[in-house]
């Protein structure tokens, strides 16, 4: 809900100009009324309409400036005849009218060019730029005609009293926490310019191999093609650029040239996705970066958590090498302590905490005592599996004993493993257990099949089922039974969904008498993880969230202590790789300004990014024109169960070139321009 004078946004028709206060109608959308803490917005104009927040807006100038943006944001245009010339003609004619030299025929020409652009442009920018212009010309025709008839400039034409801030976006870019320029990287695939594709990705996402494989792709949920048939397979298309670079042994295609050193130093704590991303963009800006990592290997949870069959380490290492190639200094086997943090304040110009969440939470059942053998936290379990599979780092003797392993790697031959979870981590646990040759692998989940698919992916769940994982839904562990501190069995309760008689959300209720005992050797809690924040000196009193993560405002990622930033899971709680990347990218941007000026600022682009996310770019009700429905989404080939269940080969082959091109061809290039006047 927004208070506006006038709005045509998303087809609404609100006109409060001249109306008394009690007759005002509000806009149904989250329009950016406040540009930032210093400025009120005067108007918002974009692909789907225009809204005025101030009665004094010069609409002729507003239209002209919006048309001008189309010329400025040339990266996305200039690629088709109607857009290239049409856009210029729109601007020239509007400016002619605005400066008081227009003719009545110019209005007709504007409409004619607009129609051709709407019908035939290559991307949505060309198709949609005319939309708000035509709205203004229709609803404020008299203001345009006044300029023409009087041959006088528009009311603010010669005044520099308004800032016009524009931003290019797309539904997928908006949905992506890292705001990756998805249409550009898909265009790179379509045009067989894979270097351009990769550089487009790396503008905001350095981990192209990784997020071409293990991203839960929220972008695909907000892909506009969904309105027509099925979403584009956005995630997998990211691999083509990355593979091109790797396969041909090119150096690294960075999105821009690295700046010369500016003599500033930043410490990054944690070499996971957030740490790597932060380091990458700080280094690109000419800042010297030291990354401290507790583990002997780089990559964080993607390295030691995500299994090889989903994320081959040689590919991830390529992403890591791209970061290293900018001169980032990695210090492994070093757990940062509070004392070190105190020292870092002197040694570095800023610090980014990106330590993730590496403590497995308990399942909260009776007799849940960590000393029971067979009780094994998911994070530690996956560490042991992955360190051996990926790096040949064997399980130390003490841990072998602790976890009753017959060898110096995770061998579960003859054993039954039960995992409690429902998210990606638990899926990784059960599928790794299958590969470790367990006799029986069971996943206990409180909710149903539909929810587990929603929380992970359809493929992930089905592949696990195919490999032999037994899923027991609506279940939870009630008690661990042990003999001399060795796990023997579990008591499992069953639940059912009971509809709320008042029409609310159904409740999970325990089914009395349905509980059963289940023999097992291992119980792996994978319900969630929490952050280990012992490195933060107590006297700093860094604010925490109610989930015991580090608190920031979610925009600039500075903690309550100046110069200390936090990004990724340690800030948000256990979330996705792409979320960590997006946060760290933003943090790096803020930090690289902070180390120079000492100020915490957001760029106009970042401010607009946040406004648009609030407004939401994707409109699932929109009817798509100009694209033929029914072209099927491509699916890449997957190893058969027999080919994959006893080894760590990558399960997904990735697209063949033919599949990739057919898929890229489906992308509709839904770029839009949004602009705020303030």
């Amino acid at each position: 809900m927004s208070k506006v004078y006038f709005s045509t946004w998303r087809g609404e028709q609100i006109n409060n100009i001249g109306k008394s206060d009690d007759a005002w109608e509000n806009s149904a959308y989250n329009l950016p009324l406040e540009y930032n803490e210093h400025a009120h917005s005067k108007a918002f104009i974009g692909w789907d309409g225009v809204a005025l927040f101030n009665p004094d807006v010069d609409v002729v100038r507003l239209a002209t400036e919006y048309a001008a943006q189309y010329q400025v944001y040339s990266e996305a245009c200039g690629r088709c005849a109607p857009g290239r010339w049409g856009g210029r003609i729109l601007y020239d004619l509007l400016d002619k009218i605005a400066r008081g030299e227009g003719a009545v025929s110019d209005m007709e020409h504007l409409k004619e060019v607009s129609k051709t652009m709407q019908e035939t442009s290559k991307c949505e920018i060309g198709k949609t730029v005319p939309n708000p212009l035509l709205d203004l010309m229709t609803h404020f025709e008299s203001e345009f005609m006044a300029c023409i008839e009087n041959q006088k400039p528009s009311k603010h034409y010669h005044m520099e009293d308004t800032n016009y801030i524009a931003k290019i976006t797309a539904p997928c870019m908006d949905a992506c926490p890292a705001h990756v320029d998805i249409p550009a990287y898909i265009e790179g695939v379509r045009d067989l310019r894979f270097d351009d594709s990769l550089m487009a990705t790396r503008q905001t996402m350095p981990l192209a191999h990784t997020c071409g494989r293990v991203c839960p792709h929220p972008c695909e949920t907000e892909c506009r093609r969904t309105n027509l048939d099925e979403p584009i397979s956005i995630m997998e298309l990211k691999r083509l650029g990355a593979d091109y670079e790797t396969d041909h042994g090119f150096g690294f295609f960075h999105p821009s040239e690295q700046k010369a050193s500016i003599g500033k130093k930043v410490a990054v704590i944690g070499a996971g996705p957030a740490g790597l991303t932060g380091a990458y963009y700080l280094a690109l800006d000419g800042i010297d970066v030291d990354v401290y990592e507790e583990l002997p290997v780089l990559g964080g949870e993607v390295a030691v958590g995500v299994p090889e069959y989903r994320m081959p380490i040689d590919k991830y290492n390529q992403d890591i090498e791209a970061v290293r190639s900018l001169g980032v200094n990695f210090i492994t086997n070093t757990k940062v302590t509070a004392d070190m943090m105190r020292q870092f304040e002197n040694d570095y110009d800023a610090t980014l905490v990106a330590t993730g969440t590496r403590i497995s939470k308990k399942v909260y059942c009776d007799n849940e005592r960590p000393e029971i053998q067979g009780y094994w936290g998911a994070i530690d379990f996956l560490d042991k599996v992955n360190l051996q599979v990926k790096y040949d780092i064997m399980v130390p003797e003490a841990d072998q004993k602790r976890h009753m392993l017959p060898a110096d790697f995770v061998d579960l031959t003859g054993k039954t493993l039960v995992c409690v979870g429902g998210g990606f981590t638990s899926m990784d646990v059960v599928r790794c257990a299958i590969r470790a040759n367990a006799k029986k692998v069971v996943m206990l989940y409180r909710r149903d099949e539909k929810t587990i698919i929603k929380n992970t992916t359809y493929e992930e769940y089905h592949e696990a089922v195919e490999e032999g994982v037994e899923f027991i839904f609506h279940s939870a562990v009630a008690k661990m039974n042990d003999e001399n501190d060795v796990l023997k069995s579990l008591i499992v309760d069953r639940y059912e969904l009971v509809p709320d008689p008042n029409g609310g959300r159904p409740n999970l209720e325990k089914i009395e008498g349905a509980s059963f005992e289940m023999e097992c050797d291992y119980l792996i809690p994978a319900v969630s993880q929490s952050a280990d924040l012992k490195l933060l000196p107590e006297e700093w009193e860094i604010e925490r969230t109610s989930w015991a993560t580090i608190k920031t405002n979610g925009k600039d990622y500075m903690t309550s202590r100046k110069g200390i930033f936090a990004a990724g899971d340690c800030e948000y709680g256990p979330m996705t790789i792409v979320n960590a990347v997006g946060q760290a990218k933003r943090a790096a941007s803020v930090m690289s300004r902070y180390v120079v000026s000492g100020e915490i600022t957001l760029s106009d682009d970042e401010i607009m990014e946040d406004h648009l996310r609030k407004l939401k770019v994707y409109d699932k009700k929109e009817k798509i024109q100009g694209w033929l429905p029914g072209l099927p989404r491509q699916h890449s080939e997957v190893l058969t169960v027999d080919e994959r269940r006893d080894n760590n080969r990558e399960v997904k082959y990735g697209f063949t070139q033919e599949e990739a091109l057919a898929e890229a061809e489906r992308c509709m290039r839904c770029y839009y321009i949004a602009m705020v006047a303030h």
Binding site: R84, W85, G86, I89, D92, T120, L192, R193, L631, L661
Partner: protein
């Protein structure tokens, strides 16, 4: 197969075909300005919009495949209106300089403007002043450019130079060199060919002729064994000279691709009057001669004349290049049971796995490079390049470079065959042969480890269309015959098809037509474009001038085993080989009378020259000449043991021409760059004790050359590249291409 309708008529599209492609096949016309059949759609002009019964808005036919049952309308008032408006936009501020524009008369913008009846500028926009760029052989005028992106697509997707890109800037967009100030490319000129307007033009041709004044002579390029189709465009030389001259070369760029040598290296014709006294001397010399030595820049018909002369006069025929090829192929056939190999340029471009071994493919045969680029880009082909020298031009194509030691080709091919055959159904005997290879020795001596072969096997494991490309290093290897047999094993027992990249335009033809003798020299050897006691031809200082290949009609056989006709661009006034033959009692009225007489036993089909097609249809069907029959022969060959691998220590040179240079013809054209230096790495310079710019003397077995040495940062190791095109009768194609040499410093260039 997808059934749909266009304007109500049923049309069938095959899988992956777009509406535009299916429409064109079915004979429907949809206008386009940016569409290029051989690349992915640029989708910039938007003229190809169509209406359908399943969409509200207009959809783009060039990038949309039809769905089952779709009803497409390609003409309607609405479409006409939008297309006309697009043309009106294209015409905004397009400079009105058609009177002097090279493209006028053959310009897509002119054609479409006329087609849509745009007779005046309907819209206006601020005029821009834009600088014309001079990029050597190519000029670019951004104000004429319509930004269709064809040039950018072809440069990246087909050629592989990836040298130009679009600078996005809305109305100010332009084509610019990619990653460099000035255009840095191999100057194939394909960007000029595909440019629909006069924005990209040949700097030499510019302002020299109008399109409609030129006569097009369809011909076959004489520079390498690809035998590309081209058009010599000729007109009178000047107002004071009525004789024809070639002004430029063009190609049917929708379906064919030409390299810079073909496009810019056309003026190698020479002229001579008839001198009866010299002619008489030539006749006498041949009558007394023991042998005729000739190279493979010769038509099939002339090769046939030489064969007839041999039969009539008993002279021997020397052509070491073609003889090596003949031997290689006969050994090959002894295993494969076929007269020829099974691959072709098309097979390469359709591959999703390619292994190249034993040649500097990018410069030896640019058409093979373009086919590889096409495969790499469009099919994501895995490309394994095996050679002692890495090739910078192939970096964006090659996915695995395997460096082997000079001379160890037999060992490498044996190990490769073993790798590729490991899961195939082969006889116990053959299995035992490969099991018996001394892997440790072969890997150590060739410096190619087990893991590299394993990586090859892994990377092509999912490939379905595979090609093995054999370069000309192999033809003159001491162990060429056994290498051929090993390669034939691969083609016979795996899914690989093979292409042998012959060195010259008609090496293949000569090898099929002539009964060649081992060249043991002699005191009375006639040299036809080759060294001899009496020399004739069109290359080098000859005693009797005969026509160059752009002054001849006749046929060649290229690496596709395709018989390709070529025609006279510039008439030659002197004698021809046929005149000599007639004098010696081998009679035929015209040289091309021999076309029908080419040996049917070798796969020729007896067609006469005038019955040979020489063009591509509008849908890209190749009507040029015909394919030789690949017939069955007895497969009685036996693999020999791999011999001890030789070592090449010290300073080694590799005979290898610079980009766009091939032979005595290209060496004398006006536009092509004539790089003649020995090029080597810093390591080579140190080993040879020479420096950049030094004048040096190189001693080979049998000859001495003086050259300038240039350091080349793109090279590594102790092998330098030595050109051969500029030595009239060079050894490039007659010996193993690597040679250990002595190098002496003579002085400095400056």
């Amino acid at each position: 197969m997808i059934n749909f309708t266009i304007n109500g008529q049923p049309v069938i599209a095959s899988q992956g075909e777009t509406i535009l492609q299916a429409a064109r096949k079915a004979g429907f016309y949809i206008p386009t300005m940016c569409y290029l059949e051989k690349t992915t759609p640029c989708a910039s002009c938007r003229l190809c919009v169509v209406e359908t019964d399943k969409t509200d808005g207009l959809i783009l036919s060039c990038q949309t495949p039809p769905t089952e049952g779709l009803g497409v309308t390609i003409n309607s008032e609405r479409l006409e209106q939008e297309r006309t408006n697009i043309m009106r936009l294209y015409d905004v501020n397009h400079p009105l300089e058609c009177g002097v524009c090279d493209k006028s008369g053959a310009c897509d913008l002119q054609n479409k403007t006329l087609e849509f009846g745009v007779s005046a500028q309907h819209f206006s926009a601020k005029e821009q002043h834009r600088k014309i760029e001079h990029w050597g052989l190519i000029n670019y005028d951004p104000s004429l450019c319509i930004l269709c992106e064809k040039c950018v697509h072809v440069c990246n997707e087909i050629i592989g130079d990836d040298a130009i890109t679009l600078q996005f800037g809305g109305y100010k967009s332009a084509v610019i060199p990619k990653n460099s100030e000035k255009l840095d490319c191999t100057f194939c000129g394909e960007c000029i060919a595909v440019c629909p307007v006069g924005a990209l033009v040949s700097s030499e041709f510019q302002y020299s002729a109008n399109a409609w004044e030129l006569t097009q002579v369809p011909a076959t390029c004489a520079h390498c064994s690809a035998g590309c189709s081209l058009m010599y465009e000729v007109k009178h030389t000047s107002t004071s000279n009525a004789s024809d001259r070639i002004y430029r070369v063009t190609n049917d760029f929708e379906h064919t691709t030409l390299c810079g040598a073909g496009r810019f290296g056309f003026d190698f014709d020479h002229q001579s009057a008839k001198d009866p006294a010299e002619f008489a001397k030539a006749i006498t010399a041949i009558q007394k001669a023991d042998a005729v030595r000739f190279n493979s820049l010769i038509t099939n018909e002339e090769a046939m004349i030489l064969q007839r002369l041999k039969e009539k006069l008993g002279v021997k025929l020397y052509n070491e290049e073609a003889r090596a090829y003949q031997n290689f192929m006969s050994a090959y056939s002894s295993i494969s049971g076929k007269t020829g190999f099974g691959g072709s340029l098309d097979a390469i471009s359709q591959s999703d796995a390619i292994i190249v071994i034993g040649g500097r493919i990018s410069t030896d045969n640019p058409a093979v490079r373009y086919a590889m680029t096409t495969a790499a880009r469009h099919n994501g082909a895995k490309v394994v390049y095996m050679h002692p020298l890495e090739d910078e031009l192939l970096q964006n194509v090659v996915t695995q470079f395997v460096k082997y030691e000079v001379g160890t080709e037999e060992g490498v091919v044996a190990m490769l065959a073993k790798t590729l055959l490991s899961h195939e159904d082969i006889s116990e005997e053959v299995r035992a042969y490969f099991d018996g290879l001394d892997e440790g020795y072969l890997c150590a001596e060739s410096n190619v480890g087990d893991e590299e072969y394993a990586r090859i096997a892994k990377s092509i494991a999912r490939s379905k269309r595979k090609t093995l490309v054999l370069g000309s290093d192999l033809l003159h290897h001491n162990r060429a015959m056994n290498i051929a047999r090993l390669c034939a094993m691969i083609e016979t027992y795996t899914e690989f098809s093979v292409v042998v990249v012959a060195p010259s335009v008609n090496t293949v033809g000569v090898s099929l037509i002539c009964d060649l003798d081992f060249d043991k020299g002699g005191d009375s050897v006639i040299g036809y474009n080759a060294a001899g006691n009496y020399t004739m031809g069109s290359i080098g200082e000859v005693m009797l001038n005969l026509p160059a290949l752009n002054s001849q009609e006749g046929t060649f056989v290229n690496i596709n085993y395709q018989v390709l006709p070529t025609n006279v661009a510039v008439a030659f006034r002197g004698y021809t080989l046929n005149d000599i033959a007639n004098e010696l009692g081998v009679n035929a009225q015209h040289t091309i009378d021999y076309t029908a007489a080419l040996p049917i036993t070798k796969g020729f089909n007896g067609s006469s020259f005038d019955n040979l097609g020489n063009f591509y249809t509008s849908l890209g069907e190749d009507t040029r000449g015909y394919l030789l029959e690949n017939s069955d022969v007895e497969a009685n060959g036996i693999l020999e043991e791999v011999e001890n691998l030789p070592e090449f220590n010290g300073t080694v040179v590799y005979r290898c021409n610079p980009v766009n240079q091939f032979n005595g013809y290209t060496a004398r054209t006006a536009q092509l760059e004539k790089e003649a230096a020995l090029r080597g790495s810093a390591q080579f310079a140190a080993a040879a004790k020479i420096g950049d710019g030094d004048k040096i003397q190189i001693e080979f077995t049998g000859e001495t050359q003086e050259r300038i040495f240039k350091l080349d940062a793109a090279l590594k190791g102790t092998i330098a590249l030595i050109p051969a095109y500029d030595v009239a009768y060079g050894a490039l194609n007659e010996q193993y291409r690597f040679e250990k040499v002595k190098i002496m410093k003579m002085g400095s260039e400056s």
